[in-house]
Symmetry: C2
Subunit: 177 residues, 2 copies
Amino acid sequence: MRRLYHFCLQPSSRKLRILLKEKGLEFELQAENAWERRDALLALNHAGETPVLVEEDGTTIGDATAIAEYLEEVHPAPGFLGTTPEARAEVRRLVGWFDAKFNREVTANLFDQKILRRLKGNGGPDSQALRSGNSNIHYHLDYIGWLVDRRRWLAGEEFSLADMSAAAQPLDARLHR
Amino acid sequence: MRRLYHFCLQPSSRKLRILLKEKGLEFELQAENAWERRDALLALNHAGETPVLVEEDGTTIGDATAIAEYLEEVHPAPGFLGTTPEARAEVRRLVGWFDAKFNREVTANLFDQKILRRLKGNGGPDSQALRSGNSNIHYHLDYIGWLVDRRRWLAGEEFSLADMSAAAQPLDARLHR
């Protein structure tokens, strides 16, 4: 059985769980706390990071972007990247927006500070990070609103990996107080 | 003429300059200091970040990964992603390694602190960042060495986007003192 090594609260792990479900692919989950640096996880992915996908034949893939692109190539239907190079560029631009920019400017400053630091035993949140996150989130929510006003889905007329990347970020309002 | 909006010292901009050259595609460069938030750049890419590619027909693509994948799709020969889904997954994993992990753990702590902060007028480097960067770089150089001992190129037998991502990071030894 296909297996996804994941961390349940990590946006990139959440995105791949959504993608696997949307593609109708069977998989089992193996929970990992990457910061514990378990040897078994390091052997699968030298980066020591989740997510990692292990296919039934043993093919092992690390890096959330590499895993998503691999699943799109090997199981193209239903597809979530778009049907033209230009459409796929727009999906990938927004995937990058949420996976990198939103994550760095909002999630790392709010969710990671309020939740992850406690889980890792690193103490309470850094107040400067909280201020940055609370300031940055408005700009991001405005941009999501701008896109939603003009498009059916974030990257255009079709549901795509961009929507999954956005949905996988922790947007619970209770985090943003 | 195709135009790349870039910042000459930015690894993701450097990677795309290498890729365009390796593919034999003509392009002209438009230098941008993204932190000045010039309206023309914001109009091309809402993230306000370089690199941005504008094709001769006006097609505009932001995000370095989206641009590289677009160029691979539209100009597939010569290709730099690999010939099987598994090979492409390995290339993309290492592209992610250098673009995200190496950049976050090494480049942001050394190059960004020593060079970018000065260019942006943000003062001198943060000593804790320098210590982190100087500590992290050994692990990364060891991993590059481990790969090079076992493979002809970083991701396997063929020169790939992974090699370009690595080469685009500032590895000048003078930065690491």
